[in-house]
């Protein structure tokens, strides 16, 4: 009798109990991805569209699985000795970022349905969906991971499929070149951050973020340099993922070379991966190094937004793919804004609140930027070169689409009627001002004006008189759904900004 009880105890201490509900969102995405890959073998050529709809449903299901988790924090894969130290935590921060990632992937999937259909056989459907879902699963795992090993695994699961997605177009030189650029620079960054992590592990003896936070304060004097190097190298890797300067150069070429929905996916989900990793490493694992990463991130933020916005400003509207190029450069600029509150978190005691502004801004940005990409995907169907000048007179041929794109662009610029864009910027500004980062706020203010110039130029173009006769085309249903969804989101958020801004006022962790 007693030996049986003992065996049970042993089994409990060795075999971890897994909270399947907590890990459901990333798991479902991964499983559906595998299922689609297998199903691809058995589905006839005529019915390949089915795969797309299965993937969309899978992403929707995994996003829905966030609902039961809302009521409280959950954690799983904990240390058997210490139940407080866990590898996977589903707290508010995790849920919000997972919602952002899965929602973003869902919208990108809706755009992809049409793109794949238009491309015919040039894009392999089964692989495409598998890669997209795997990447989304990795991106959803990342905000939940609370140890450096899981974090890096999640990061790689999110990025490796993305390289393949960028280069997925058969026989397209630009596509493969973009993929190679993206791959090489990304792998270098990963290698660097892995080295950093190993240094941190060497000096603290743990990979768990919360334990690192404790132990790194009492590192042996001899290991100080090693620890500091480790911290810097780790941050570099994550800065790359957010496309922060000077790790931004891959962005424009990659976005242009990739299929449009993949570019949309990277601009939102790729960024979410980068900054949520950065938040976890800085705010959770290394709060004691705030005086080092705070100023570094502040400088990085200032550089990133300036370089991004100036790059966007220099786009000529008649050049091929200038619309995507502009969105790419502006996404670099927006990444700069996203970094501001994280930098501010290094200066205040209330780091949670500051980081919340990043989350709120990212939610706004995800909705409107995906919306802008959706409209770009629509325009790309009739004018494949996707020049900004192709948008001239869009109002005449598609009034509603033009109004919606104008709204998205003004949201990105942060001017009414894009009220949510304005208040998300106000939240970021107030994080900076609150932390005493007046100079950064001023740099950002100047950047907002620069950004307004190119966003408004594009907006104004939409309402100019068209050059030729407007042609009427039927809009495919998935594209309509994506545009409508993002537009409704943008309008609702503009009426009730509290829906996303509340994250900037509550504890996330």
């Amino acid at each position: 009798m007693s030996s049986q009880a003992h065996a049970q105890d042993l089994a409990q201490s060795v075999v971890q109990s897994v909270d399947w509900l907590a890990i459901a969102p990333p798991t479902i995405a991964a499983v559906v991805g595998l299922a689609v890959l297998v199903a691809d073998l058995f589905v006839g050529d005529g019915k390949k569209a089915l795969l797309g709809w299965i993937s969309v449903a899978g992403l929707a299901a995994s996003a829905l699985m966030l609902l039961p988790l809302v009521d409280g924090d959950r954690a799983t894969f904990c240390l058997t000795g210490d139940a407080d130290v866990c590898s996977y935590t589903a707290d508010r921060f995790t849920l919000v970022i997972q919602f952002l990632v899965l929602g973003g992937a869902l919208l990108a999937a809706l755009l992809s349905v049409t793109t794949l259909k238009d491309a015919g056989r040039r894009l392999p459907e089964g692989e495409f969906w598998f890669l997209l879902l795997s990447s989304a699963a990795g991106a959803a795992l990342l905000p939940a991971s609370r140890d450096l090993a899981t974090l890096v695994v999640a990061l790689e699961v999110a990025s490796l499929p993305a390289f393949a997605l960028v280069g997925i177009r058969y026989g397209d030189r630009k596509s493969s070149e973009a993929a190679l650029k993206f791959f090489l620079s990304s792998v270098t960054a990963t290698a660097v951050s892995l080295m950093g992590i190993s240094f941190v592990y060497a000096s603290t003896g743990t990979l768990y973020l919360t334990q690192i936070a404790d132990r790194i304060q009492q590192v042996d004097g001899q290991l100080q340099t090693l620890t500091q190097t480790g911290v810097v190298l780790t941050l570099v890797g994550f800065a790359f993922k957010t496309a922060a300067v000077p790790f931004h150069f891959w962005v424009p070429d990659t976005y242009v070379g990739a299929p449009l929905p993949v570019a949309a996916y990277l601009s939102v989900v790729g960024k979410a991966v980068g900054f949520s990793g950065l938040i976890l490493v800085t705010v959770v694992a290394l709060p004691s190094y705030a005086d080092a990463w705070g100023p570094a991130l502040a400088v990085l933020a200032a550089l990133t937004m300036t370089v991004g916005n100036v790059g966007a400003l220099r786009q000529q509207s008649t050049r091929a793919y200038s619309a995507v190029r502009l969105l790419a450069w502006s996404s670099v600029g927006q990444a700069g804004y996203l970094l501001v509150p994280i930098a501010a978190a290094g200066y205040t005691r209330d780091a949670d609140r500051a980081v919340g502004s990043t989350v709120a801004y990212a939610l706004m940005y995800a909705a409107v930027n995906l919306g802008a990409f959706a409209v770009a995907a629509l325009v790309a169907r009739t004018s494949p070169h996707n020049r900004i000048s192709d948008y001239r007179g869009l109002y005449a041929s598609r009034p509603l689409t033009a109004l919606v794109l104008g709204f998205f662009l003004l949201c990105l610029a942060g001017l009414p009627p894009g009220v949510i864009g304005l208040f998300a910027k106000v939240a970021v500004f107030s994080a900076a001002v609150d932390a005493g980062l007046g100079w950064l706020a001023v740099v950002m203010a100047v950047n907002v004006v620069i950004a307004l110039f190119y966003y408004l130029q594009w907006t104004a173009l939409l309402f100019r008189a068209p050059e030729g006769e407007p042609e009427k085309h039927r809009v495919p249903a998935p594209l309509t759904a994506a545009i409508a969804l993002t537009a409704v989101l943008g309008v609702v958020l503009s009426g009730a900004p509290q829906l996303v801004l509340r994250f900037s006022a509550t504890a996330l962790f």
């Binding site: 709120a360 106000v426 500004f429 001002v433 203010a445 907002v448 110039f453 408004l456």
Partner: protein, 524 residues
Amino acid sequence: MIDISESVMQFLLAFVVVGPLLGAAAALLPAPPGLKGKSPEQAVLRHGVTVTGAILIAAVVLALGFDHDQPSKMQASTDISWIPALDVRIHLGIDGISLPLLVLTALLTFLCALYSYFKMPAGPTPKAFVALLLVLESGTLATFAVLDLLLFFLAFEMVLIPMYFLIARWGGEQRTQAAWRFILYTLLGSVVMLLGLLLIGLKSGTFDMVALATDNDRPLTTSVQVIAVLAIGIGLAVKTPMWPLHSWLPDAHTAAPTVGSVLLAGVLLKMGTYGFVRILLPVAPDGMRTFAPYLAAFAVVGIIYGSLACLALAKQGAKGDLKRLIAYSSVGHMGFVLLGIATMTTTGVNGALFANIAHGLITGLLFFLVGALKDRTGTTDLDTLAEETGAALYGKAPRLGGLLAFGAVASLGLPGLAGFWGEMLALFGAFRPADGLSRPAFLTFMAIAAFGTLLTAAYLLVVVRRVCMGAIPQDSPKLADVQTYEFAAWTPLVALTVVAGLWPKALLGLTDPAVQQLLAGGTR
């Protein structure tokens, strides 16, 4: 004057702010059956007149229901939480300072809508024109009605996009450049202003203007006040516009359509000076005291600079544009307003508020008249108009000429008309500035500003002589005189200019108690 229950007043104020927005959305939809009118264009222009008319009626009822015995008390106030995360509240209310501006805005927009109904500016569809006009109205009215710093900023920004499109689409020559200049200048100013507003809000713990003006729980340190006044002041000064941040204004006015010019000068500029009075004076008095001498100095330079620029433009052979001339005269007039505010005395601030309203009425009228002149002759170039001897408007179109002369003498501050009181009170304020401000400096400013009034008189009389007088050549084409719809649009402005000039107490009685309260920082 008449007794209206508080809840009706609240509704009216909310309606005044939100109504134009709903109207703008409705303008974009196709007209419902029964309201189709003769053509879609006519229907939507009529829609604009109806909506702005309804707003004007609501604003007038608000003014009637306003308790004139307690103009310093916030009335018709609504206070609802909107974005708790940023502590933004939908806090609306009017007192003696905002009420006149609210009514002026509603009136000018209505007159503009009425004028456009008969004389649509050349450009794309009237549908968008009406929608933009209504959004513009909503933004301006909201600026004067909100009592929350961030909401004020939102309202301040809301006018940018509509005004940009009004200039860029329905404007005259070089409109694109002028529109860009307008929006980039004002946006750069307003994001800097946002930083100042955030600083005040975060340091004091509230964004509520009423609480900030009365509550002394967490007083702002002088250094915070100085930074905040600098940041907010720059934003407001660009809008006002204060010399040397004015250079967007002449271009914008020259390129804008008549209606755009009227609203820009009549209403939008007031948002800047209103911000000085409503936010900076009560919330950051210490910071304001630090900058008051500089503000006054810039204001006085603006007065002289504006007048000299006008004199240069009015000269024969200078190829001066009438619209540009009136724009520069606005820089001078707004200089008086800023001088009044910089004195930080009740007299000066009352004068500033009075001059605000007077400038809105008179300059609005002048822009209407010049617009009408352009429609008839096809040009606003003084030299082309006047040729050798003068345009002889008195002979060709006596009523139009008479009205133009009236607008000019009202603008130069003839006693008995609206332009007189505000500038005189501003000068009086400078004669005895608030404690802590250097009196000799302000006496100097007063003397220079008084000299500026002489220059103003000079260029306006030159304009009258060159445009209205002169010999009529035998073969000259006849100009159409003032039409009925033009009378309808202009008479209210003329009448109010005379009323405000003869009965200044009607306005000062409203503003004075509120200003006293504001400067004393007491409870409401």
